[in-house]
Structure formats: C-alpha cells, structure tokens
C-alpha cells in the first residue's frame, strides 16, 4: 500500500525527512536550549535512580523498625526515619518507581483514548464530532481531581484504580488537541490523494494523518505525565493512595501528623516530587519551543 502512494510533498522530501534525520535535527536544536537540557538531565537522573533502586538503598522500603522512630537525617539514614522507624531514603528512592509508573501508564492510557477519540472526531466530523466534543467539554468543566478522588475512594485504593481514574479524567485534553490538528490536515492534498486511491478511513486516519498530527500530542504528553504524578501524589496525600507500594504522596500524608517533630518526613519526599515535576515541565517547555517555534519569542 505504502509503495503505491503518489509523490506528495511529504514523499518527495524523501531522505531529508527520514526519522533519523528528523531526530538529529531535533536534537541539535534541543541541545541549545539550556533550561530544557537541565530538565532532561534531571529526568534521566530520576529514571536512573528508579531503575537502580535496589542497588543504591540498603534498607528495604515499607519495612518497619529498620531504625528507631524519628531518627533525624544521619549517615545510616540519609533522609531520617519516620514514626514506625522506616527508612525514608529507601522509600523515596523506591517511590520514584511508583511515581514514574503511574505517570507513564496513566498518561499513556489517557493519550491512547485521547488519540482515538480526537482522530475519530476530527476525521468524521458531524454528529459523532458533536457527541464526542460535548463529552470532552463535560470533563473539562467538571472538577476532575475530585472525580478521580471519588472513583478511587468508592472502587478501592488499588494502583490499577488510581491509574484508571487518572486516565479517565485526563484524556479530553489530548482529544481536543488532536482533533484541531486533524481538522486542518484532513483538507490537505496528500489526504485527498489517499482517499481517491481508495484507502480505508482507518488507514487514512492512522497512517496518513496521525504521523503529521502527533507532535502537539507528544508535547502535551510530557506535561500529562507530570499532571498524573501530581494527581497520584494528591490522591495519596488525601488518603486515597495504594498502601502496598512506596508512594511520595502517602509519605507526605503520614508526615502531616508529625510536622512538629520530624520536618524530614515531609521535606525529602516532597522535594523529589517537586524535582520530578520540574524536570518534566522543563522538557515539555523545550519540546514546545521546538515544535511551535512561533511561540518561542513569547
């Protein structure tokens, strides 16, 4: 199918537009953006820490009484211990795994739903578009954090439910973005050409239009990961977290009871949460500068 395609603008540029050269061009430009590079280093740092968690910690997370209660930061317990004598350092490091997993899975699932809805809505238009966009509007108006909180509270505070709830309330942003891209791209000649050649709607949507419309979604995805991580932390802080895994939000919830005696219980998990979100926001800004150069002067 792909071989029969006529020489459209996208085609003719041939080699110049291959994936490798596109990535190369992107990287040369991204490298020059100092803030974005700081963000990337931070993000890679958090990922490495999450992967290396068992190697760089020496107390098991979640285990009580690995030290005394409320031990301030010392060499053996770099971030101190909490009320039950758990090592905060281990929990912060292993918590990175939880946060990144929630962020990636929730944002990924939300992107998939958003892409499917946005593509359908933008491509077909008409009644389907009306219905889908009305649904999006409902989610954009409602207090979605509260909705996620109630879903998790009622259906149970498991990791699966938390990820699902975050995905359910966050997909409309992606859907709206992609729909707008689809609306302008579907009028272009290469789409018309594919249609005339008898490509099926699904082929046109996902192999012709989507590759040209995906960039705003990618930029948005990095911010969605940050939002998902913050939402999980917020839910856990309010007591709707999954207690079976180390979580920064749950640690902060616990710290709330002991702010007067143990500042370290709040300071370290929150600082790492902040750094993670900061890195994702910096990377998102960097991607945005590259893909929307018009906004760069702003």
């Amino acid at each position: 199918m792909a071989q029969e395609k006529p020489a459209t603008t996208e085609r003719r540029e041939g080699k110049r537009n291959s994936v490798v050269s596109r990535v190369g061009r992107f990287w040369r430009q991204y490298r020059k953006n100092r803030a974005a590079m700081v963000g990337l280093f931070l993000l890679v740092g958090v990922c490495v820490v999450a992967l290396a968690a068992p190697i760089i910690t020496w107390h098991p997370p979640l285990k009580s009484a690995v030290g005394g209660a409320f031990v301030p930061p010392t060499a053996g317990y770099p971030f101190g211990t909490d009320d039950l004598g758990r090592d905060i350092y281990s929990n912060v490091i292993f918590g990175a795994r939880t946060s990144l997993m929630v962020g990636l899975l929730a944002a990924g699932m939300s992107a998939l739903i958003g892409i499917f809805v946005g593509a359908t809505s933008g491509y077909y238009g008409g009644k389907i578009d009306d219905l889908l966009m009305r649904t999006c509007e409902v989610f954009l108006v409602l207090p979605t954090f509260l909705l996620a909180l109630i879903i998790v509270a009622v259906f149970g505070t498991s990791m699966n439910n938390i990820i699902l709830a975050i995905a359910i309330v966050s997909w409309p942003r992606t859907a709206r973005l992609l729909r707008a891209e689809f609306l302008s791209i579907k009028e272009r000649e290469f789409v018309e050409a594919a249609r005339v050649l008898g490509s099926k709607p699904l082929d046109i949507m996902f192999s012709e239009i989507l590759p040209n419309a995906i960039f705003p979604v990618i930029v948005n995805a990095s911010l969605e990961v940050a939002t998902a991580i913050l939402t999980e932390a917020g839910l856990s802080f309010l007591g709707a977290g999954d207690p079976s895994v180390p979580s920064w939000g749950i640690m902060l919830n616990n710290a709330q009871n002991y702010l007067r005696v143990a500042w370290w219980m709040a300071a370290f998990p929150g600082a790492v949460l902040f750094l993670t979100c900061l890195s994702l926001n910096l990377v998102g800004d960097g991607l945005n500068d590259y893909f929307n150069p018009r906004l760069k002067e702003r």
Binding site: V141, P143, L146, L147, G156, G239
Partner: protein
Amino acid sequence: MSSVFRLIARRTVQAIPLIFIVITINFAIIHMAPGDPTYILLGEAATKEYVEAMRARFGLDKPLYLRYFIYVSNVIQGDLGYSLLRAQFVSSLIVERLPATLLLIFTAMCISVLVGIFLGVTASKRPYSLRDNLATGVALFGVSTPTFWLGQMLLIALAIYAGVFPASGLVTLRIELAGLDYVLDVLHHLVLPAITLAAFHLAFITRLTRASMLEVLGQDFIITARSKGLDERAVTYRHGLRNALLPVTTYVGLSIGLLFAGAILTESVFGWPGMGTLLFDSLRLRDYPVLMGVFIFVSVMVIVSNLIVDILYGVLDPRIRSR
C-alpha cells in the same frame, strides 16, 4: 440589551444538561460500586434497620430507571443524603463549611491575579533580561511545586520554627475576640493557606500574561501608539495590557474547579475548617454520602461560575454574543 438577555437565557439552558450529567455520574458511581449501594449511601456505620429503611426510601427494590428518577428528584430538592457518622444532613454540613472555603479561594484568586499580572507585565517589558528571568523562574517553580508540599514547608518554616504565623485553624481558639480584632485574627490565620493555594495559579497567570503581552506588543497598533508619541506607560497598560488580558480572564474563569481541588489539599494541610477538611475527614472515615454530596455541590458551583464568566464575556465583547 435584548441580545444580552437572549445570551443569558441560552447559556443557562445549555448549563442545565451539564448539571444532569453530574447527577447521573454520581448515580452511576453509587450503583456501579462493589457491594450494596446502601453501603455507599450510608457508610459503614449503618445498622440493619436503617439500611432497610433507606432501601425503601431510595426505592432500591424498584427498577433502575425509577431509582434514577427518585435520586434525581432528591438531589434537585437539595437532599444530598444524610451522614450517619456525623448525624447531620450532607447539605447542612456543606453550607456550614462553605464560607471558610470561599474566603480562602477568593483571597488566593485575588493574590494570584494581582501578583501574576504584575510579574507577567514586568517580565514582558524586556524579554530575557534579569527581571524577566527572575519572574519566569518564579513562575516555573510555582507550576512545578505540589500545593500541599508547599503548604507543609511554609508551615514548618514560618509557623513552627519562626512562629510568625499560626499553624492551623481559622481563628485563635479559647480567646473571645470581637470586631476588628476578630477580623485581624482571621487574616493572620489566612496568610499561609492563601499563599499556598495562590502559588500555582500565580505562576500560571505570570506565564500567561507574559506570553500574551509579548504577542500583543508585537502588533501594529502598538507601533502606531508608540509612533504617535504616547509614553511607554500608556502603551504598556492602556493599549497592551488591556488586550493581553483576554486569555487571563479565560483562565480565571476556568480555574474555579482547579481552585476547589487546590483548596481541598491546602485546607487539609492547615486544618482550615472548610469543605476541604470536611472531605479529608470524610475520606478517612469512609463517609461516602459526604464525598458524593461534596462532588455534586462543587460541580454545580463550577458550572454556575463558568456560566457567569460566559455571560460576562458576552457583555464585555459583543462579538461573542452571537456564538
């Protein structure tokens, strides 16, 4: 003027289905929940007799569509359920807590709009100057800091260690205060929660104002204004800012929902006796009727405030009216 009335009527009619959708979502959650819906409606403390009584009252033996109508008509009449744990109607619990939350949200919004616009304008005057970098830096930190953690850090530093502000509550307990003293005491308690809640929105408005100002300041009519010999102040504020404020207004209107979510987190940190602590405590006690009631109530508040913003828009900008 009649076009404004038509606008109000049309927008109001459009808002009603939204409210029904909220009630329907709530109904769906209650009935899709694992176990008996009375469990969600009544919480864990319900006795057997009470469950039976409620089954009859909510018509749980009736078919689904009838139950739905009963539920909708209850909610519309303001019956959001009854909290057994607190022995109080959910609606009266909410009304009791509402003023504190509104005070917090309103103060935080004022801070973030005033400071955010100021920082944004300052930053846009000379892009990439020291001032701009400072303002954008503050904004970047603001959008990346988790609200509740910021609150905890402020509380530890300024309330516990420095002792400058009270750590929790709305007023000093055990002291009778009246008149001005009372107001000052409340304001003193309000400072930290308001800053905490404002931080994110302040940062966002700074970024928005800066971007929007830079776009507007590059347009032709600004060059005209300058070449006319207007002084820089008039160009920035009267011509630039006035046109750059539209995205900021939109954001303020749409952020009411976010503010409520932020208020829940902030109140939980500072023990601010509003709907946030109500929700926090209810979540801990698994007091489901209160959770569901607060969700409906906040949703309706958000829908109504969006409606008001929409109408204000139409009044301010005649081009929008016909849409």
